[in-house]
């Protein structure tokens, strides 16, 4: 047999083993229902009906089933990410691979939504009487660490747009500056490297700075015992970036040394907790939901502080790390997430005799969240 014949046999053999092997292994491998690493339910084998087939749905669903349940997904994901990095790729799904294990999501130039959101807020604060309104916009990590970005990486300046918002803001609303104190503390771990949130420490710095304007005396770091509750947190940036070189983040909890207790109600008493933290989530992918049990339309915190002060927080998930500190200064805190809560808030403020209203968002959510429209109905 000639040499080329041998080579051709080898090539055909390897090709057949590769495609044939995977096609045999696939049905032999047990399907997975939920992927922890992707944090989503995976597609299952679709049910066959002639109707589904004729509409083309069956074949579409079958294709997602094959790609979702593909064997050794981790290996393939890893291979792709290694090759992509080798040819120069420095981002995935809009998340940059930064230095020192940081991942950063690009801040995109805001569109019309930003102006509308400021307008909704201004009209709302003009409507409500007898309560003080505050706005705290928090920068995201990309703004704080330009030196850790890949070369030439571009991103819109958050500072610029925060200044624009401050200019447009109704003067009756107090602007709580989170930018400067965070910038000064940037050498400390104020943001997660692998997640789009700030850390407990970052939130603590913003809390201390807001104290004066909001009219209370902030506690000091010495008033808390700091416990590390997780050392294996891989957040949303990690899920988007698929960068295998990043290391896990840790999550800290500030436990008051002073005497205080809380009762937390979710969505009109459907669920009650006596803690601000949900430890169950530390065993899951979505560990940030450890803070205040994740996203809910409405959360009411009753604390053992008896000063008659009632705070309404209209917010995104950045609030979850900060509100535990505020809970030591207010008798009641009502947290509203406009993505899920769509009732009239001005009536709510009157009914619950709210004394202070705090809008708390990170700048990225604030500039694109379409739900602030619910403030004016």
């Amino acid at each position: 047999m000639s040499f080329m014949k041998v080579m051709n046999r080898i090539l055909i053999g390897l090709f057949a083993v590769f495609i044939g092997g995977i096609s045999i292994l696939h049905p032999l491998t047990k399907d997975i229902y939920f992927s922890e690493s992707e944090n989503r339910v995976l597609a299952q084998m679709p049910k066959f009906t002639w109707k589904q087939l004729a509409s083309g749905n069956f074949t579409k669903e079958f294709e997602s089933y094959v790609s979702d349940q593909f064997i050794k997904k981790g290996f393939w994901t890893g291979t792709k990410s290694v090759v992509e990095k080798a040819v120069g790729k420095r981002e995935n799904n809009g998340v940059y691979f930064g230095k020192d294990g940081y991942l950063f999501e690009r801040f995109e130039k805001p569109g019309e939504q930003l102006n509308s959101n400021v307008d909704y807020m201004n009209r709302f604060s003009g409507k409500i009487k007898g309560a003080n309104t505050f706005l705290m916009l928090v920068p995201t990590s990309i703004e704080m660490y330009p030196e850790k970005l890949p070369r030439f990486a571009y991103t819109e300046s958050e500072k610029y747009w925060m200044d624009v918002i401050q200019q447009l803001l109704n003067p009756s609303t107090t602007w709580l500056n989170a930018y400067n104190p965070l910038w000064e503390a940037k050498d400390e771990p104020i943001y997660f490297r692998t997640d789009h949130h700030w850390t407990t420490h970052g939130a603590f710095i913003a809390y201390q700075n807001a104290a004066n304007a909001m009219g209370f005396q902030a506690f000091m770091k010495e008033d808390f015992t700091i416990e590390t509750v997780s050392k294996n947190f891989f957040g949303t940036y990690d899920a988007k970036a698929n960068d295998f070189t990043v290391k896990a983040d840790k999550i800290e909890m500030y436990v008051p040394k002073f005497d205080v207790s809380y009762r937390v109600e979710f969505n009109d008493d459907t669920q009650v907790m006596d803690s601000l933290y949900a430890h169950d989530f530390l065993q899951k992918r979505d560990q940030y939901s450890f803070f205040l049990n994740g996203n809910h339309g409405k959360v009411v915190i009753n604390s053992s502080v008896k000063n008659g002060r009632k705070l309404l927080v209209v917010k995104d998930s950045y609030a979850h790390a900060l509100v535990p500190f505020l809970a030591n200064h207010y008798e009641e805190i009502h947290m509203i997430d406009l993505r899920y809560y769509h009732e009239k808030l001005d009536n709510y403020i009157e009914k619950e005799t709210i004394s202070d209203v705090l809008f708390l968002y990170n700048i990225a959510t604030f500039s694109e969240d379409p739900n602030l429209i619910w403030l004016n109905q």
């Binding site: 040499f3 080329m4 014949k5 080579m7 051709n8 046999r9 080898i10 090539l11 055909i12 390897l14 090709f15 057949a16 590769f18 495609i19 044939g20 995977i22 096609s23 696939h26 087939l53 004729a54 509409s55 083309g56 074949t59 079958f62 294709e63 094959v66 790609s67 593909f70 997904k73 290996f75 393939w76 994901t77 291979t79 792709k80 090759v83 992509e84 040819v87 120069g88 790729k89 420095r90 981002e91 799904n93 130039k109 890949p150 070369r151 030439f152 990486a153 571009y154 698929n242």
Partner: protein, 474 residues
């Protein structure tokens, strides 16, 4: 189903090969027909009947034309005409009806409702194949196929079904009725297929991602460098996507014992538009040459007739790529340039340094792709304005540098892979190391590279983010 999908690679293909090679010889055509119908029905469960209908029509027409060619030419003429009308009518109904409605509405202010029918995938490819079948019988170039199932196999043969090459009946007539398994041919098929898969999944999809990002932004925010990078990225995307598909089709054909014609021959190394179209989508160009341009008289009846013929052929060539004016314009653009080259520009170019010839061609191609990629002519023109610096956009910016920095390696790979450099290199190495063990080492190395290519392509498919099918309008 598309070739660059996990379902095709790990379910359809192994199963199809297994069925095909385990059945007795007389069953092979039936099995391949069944497998091809399944392949098409996977994505187009309803339109499969249209394709079967089309094959049936051509079978009957072919027989009538052949029977009467010599004895009753007028009947043969009518049969040929009828075959053309049916084929073109089917194609027009699905592909161009809404385009017509749109333009009539625009012109006369009417409000006729468009049909909004989804285009049957591959219809432009298989109608052109069946038309060549009828015409070639009429011309006496081929015998009609007596077995309707064999003709149906020709029309539905899955490797070339959805994105070409346009295989004429005469090319594979012998193989349709008689083909043997040949190890070397199968291995060549595997080589073609893996290289094509790599071109599509690794190069076209990745560089296409860059174009996708750039075209998704406001034009006013982009720098001049960015828009050039954008259209260069698109040029590579469409070349590697299209030629990758053709390579996969040729490879699959070989695995089942067919030899399809080459469809792309390094078009970007051309030195003139005329040469480019001899290297780009070769089977389409030669189809229009043999079945439209030559019958019209080609370039034998004086300058004006030639120009008229060029404009007709290139207008239709453009329209073949999609039912939209920008495609017509794109076709005419090339017809015009080929006309000018015929009138003397070609002779002038040949006297110049090759560098200028290449630069001339590449610039023309890049502007051509702008016409091609924007349905909306206003957008195309606005894009060209930024390219030539007729706007206040910045010369370059941080983003452009970032794109260069993160896609530079990929662009270099794409440039190298657009030229026959690697092919020449392999030949050179073989000649430089004549000793048998050295040749063996080179051969083993190339098998290793192919397997790595296959594994990495699979990894890209498993985590596929951007994997478009570009020919849904063809």
């Amino acid at each position: 189903m598309v070739f660059s999908s996990l379902t095709f690679l790990f379910f359809f293909l192994p199963l199809a090969l297994l069925l095909y090679y385990s059945c007795p010889k007389r069953m092979k055509n039936i099995v391949l027909l069944a497998v091809s119908l399944f392949f098409y029905a996977w994505g187009e469960p309803i339109y499969i009947f249209l394709m079967i209908f089309s094959a049936g029509i051509d079978y009957v027409h072919g027989l009538i034309i052949h029977k009467n060619r010599m004895s009753r030419p007028s009947l043969a003429n009518i049969a040929l005409l009828s075959s053309m009308v049916v084929n073109i009518a089917i194609l027009s109904f699905f592909k161009y009806a809404d385009f017509l409605v749109e333009n009539v509405n625009l012109l006369f202010g009417t409000a006729i409702m468009p049909l909004d029918l989804p285009l049957p995938i591959g219809i432009s490819f298989y109608t052109f194949q069946t038309m060549s079948y009828s015409i070639d019988i009429y011309r006496g170039k081929v015998e009609p196929q007596k077995n309707p199932l064999t003709l149906a196999l020709y029309v539905t043969l899955f490797p070339q079904l959805i994105a070409g090459p346009i295989v004429r009946y005469e090319t594979i007539a012998k193989e349709l009725s008689n083909r043997r398994f040949q190890l070397d041919q199968f291995a060549e098929g595997v080589r073609f297929f893996i290289v094509g898969l790599g071109k599509k999944v690794l190069i076209a999809n990745s560089i296409g991602g860059l174009w996708f990002t750039i075209q998704g932004q406001e034009l006013s925010d982009l720098s001049m460098l960015t828009v050039w990078l954008g259209i260069i990225a698109f040029s590579f995307q469409i070349y590697f996507d299209f030629s990758g598909y053709s390579d996969m089709a040729i490879g699959l054909g070989k695995m089942f014992g067919f030899n399809f014609p080459v469809n792309f021959n390094y078009p970007y190394i051309s030195k003139s538009v005329t040469e480019f179209w001899r290297r780009w989508h070769i089977t389409l160009g030669s189809w229009f040459r043999d079945y439209v341009y030559f019958p019209l008289g080609g370039s034998r009846n004086g300058t004006w007739r030639t120009i008229r013929n060029l404009l007709i052929v290139w207008g239709i060539t453009g329209l073949w790529h999609g039912a939209s004016w920008n495609f017509v314009l794109w076709g005419l653009y090339f017809g015009f340039l080929i006309g000018i080259e015929k009138l003397g520009l070609l002779k002038l170019l040949e006297k110049m340094h090759p560098f200028f010839q290449h630069a001339y061609l590449l610039v023309i191609i890049l502007f051509g792709w702008v016409l091609f990629v924007f349905d909306d002519l206003h957008k195309g023109v606005a894009y060209i304005k930024v390219m030539v610096g007729a706007t206040t956009n910045k010369l370059y910016d941080m983003q452009a540098l970032y794109f260069l920095y993160t896609h530079g390696v990929l662009l270099v790979i794409a440039v190298i892979a657009s030229t026959p450099l690697l092919k020449h290199l392999k030949g050179k190495i073989k000649r430089a190391f004549p000793a048998s063990f050295q040749r063996k080492a080179v051969e083993l190395l190339s098998i290793g590279c192919l397997i790595i290519l296959l594994v990495v392509s699979t990894a890209y498919l498993v985590n596929g983010s951007y994997n478009p099918f570009l020919y849904f309008r063809f």
